[in-house]
């Protein structure tokens, strides 16, 4: 692995270790100042990670985008993971690109836990328009509803599809197709 990636890793790699690389420390300080009970943690792949409640999510995302020193203006990715009985987790990967001179390209991963029986969370389309397709995809495949999304329809599957395939309890309703392998005449097998 590249040397720079290695440097970005915390010593000992235990979750919640309080040593952060020096370019990430200001981000942690800012987060701790405004949201004291967030406890950001360093992930092994070099991303800073926080878990927030879905109730505070729109203000928190606005804070991330608009605060001087954070300025996460680029939403790389939105996805969701099904943790079965623990519910869903919606995962956002944010980067600061910035048109200003200081191009440090900070990175932050935000996770929101969503209960299984009430799978909804506020949409971030009005903060980052790029979330439009990403949230539609998550809704389509995982069935998490994004409240306030301007156009929440299925995007990859057809409209009359039943269920959300990436859920772990998804049942494939298509008739089973047995796999038939016929020996060719005169085959050496």
């Amino acid at each position: 692995m590249a040397e720079r990636e290695d440097k970005a890793r915390p010593e000992g790699e235990t979750a919640g270790a309080q040593t952060f690389p020096e370019e990430i420390q200001p981000v942690v300080d800012l987060l701790n100042k405004h949201y004291p009970d967030l406890s950001p943690a360093m992930r092994a792949d070099g991303w800073l990670e926080v878990v927030v409640d879905r109730q505070q999510s729109p203000e928190f995302f606005r804070f991330l985008r608009d605060t001087r020193g954070l300025e996460f203006d680029y939403l790389s990715d939105v996805t969701a993971v099904d943790y079965e009985d623990k519910g869903f987790q919606v995962v956002y990967h944010l980067i600061s690109i910035g048109l200003r001179a200081d191009r440090t390209h900070r990175r932050l991963c935000v996770k929101i836990n969503v209960p299984r029986d009430d799978a909804r969370t506020p949409s971030v389309v009005d903060i980052w328009p790029t979330a439009n397709f990403h949230e539609r995809e998550v809704y389509d495949l995982m069935g998490v509803v994004f409240e306030g999304h301007p156009d929440l329809r299925r995007i990859l599957l057809r409209e009359d599809w039943v269920g959300h395939p990436l859920r772990k309890d998804y049942v494939d309703r298509r008739p089973p197709r047995p796999r038939v392998v016929e020996k060719a005449p005169g085959s050496w097998r």
Partner: protein, 378 residues
Amino acid sequence: MAKTSDVLGEQQLGVPAEQELFINMGPQHPSTHGVLRVLLKVDGEVVTDAKADIGYLHRCFEKIAERRTVTQVIPYTDRTDYLAAITSEWAFVMAAERLMDVEVPERAEYIRVIVGELQRIASHLLWFGTFALDLGATTVFLYAFREREKLLDIFQKLTGARMLYNYLRIGGARNDLYDGFADDVRRFLDDLEDRLHEYHTLFTGNRIFESRVKGIGVLSAEDAIKYGASGPVIRGSGVPYDVRKAHPYSVYHRFDFGIPIGKDGDVYSRYLVRMQEFYESIGIVRQALDQIPAGDFIGKVPRRMRLEGDAYARVESPRGEVGVYIVGRGEENAWRVHYRSPCFTHLQLLGPLGVGGLVADMVAVIGSIDIVMGEVDR
């Protein structure tokens, strides 16, 4: 197939006003490079609204990836971005390596960089040919494919395949470079440099071409960031954002290369950025061939690969930022694999870029964001 209920696009674009008309561009349209349906609302010949309708090639790659062991997923990643298979493999393999803390030997990293940059050249050559073809320049297409053919021969000799290589492995690559690989590649690069000059005299200064691309599909830097553009699209708008520089992976920090950026954010800027990237890639491959150390082409990997935790790895593919997010829960299969596709994100730009232009400009816009539908639909 898909969405039969919205043939007229009324659900997506609303009922048209009296003078307006719906046009379905695609799913089978020569300029869409696959099965992309673009819903256009036009007033005369001016586009007043545009939306992309996708999903025709959907295979649910992410579900397939959950049911295979990590090593078995690698060939599937080829099929997402089939014109740049190496970079899709690379993103996946890198995410898995970060999850399991696998050490990659230095030689393997160099092999990856060389193959990855050659892949960028191959992909840009195909884009150059088809983009010109979309705009009516047939000869360019033949020229570009002539060069791409030579490159594919090198790939075939190295990996055994011409497009879907299945070459990278967790911890390195499948096989070492063959004897004489460096000579083959150097000869190809020298040749390509001459040819690039030829391309520029043939196409870049062409007045018909320039009048079709200059000032068309303008994307401002702010919009590019807001809409999550990446790769040549965001750089064409003047934002010097490149994953290879922003968060250097592999051994990219050892090479000296620039990030070409455009001035105006129009189709022409994106064209120039890609043409400039040929030279940067040639430079990187030459440096890598000079520096490549001896050693193993694959590192020590555990026999049973157990994934634990989560990791997100990003790679600068020819089209933009490819990201793979893997979650493991102590098994050999990934619990969840997510593939972030640059083209999928770029398709949201069709509206902002195409509105106000002519229908013919839409073809130039689609060509300039260089979509691969296999990657959009996954």
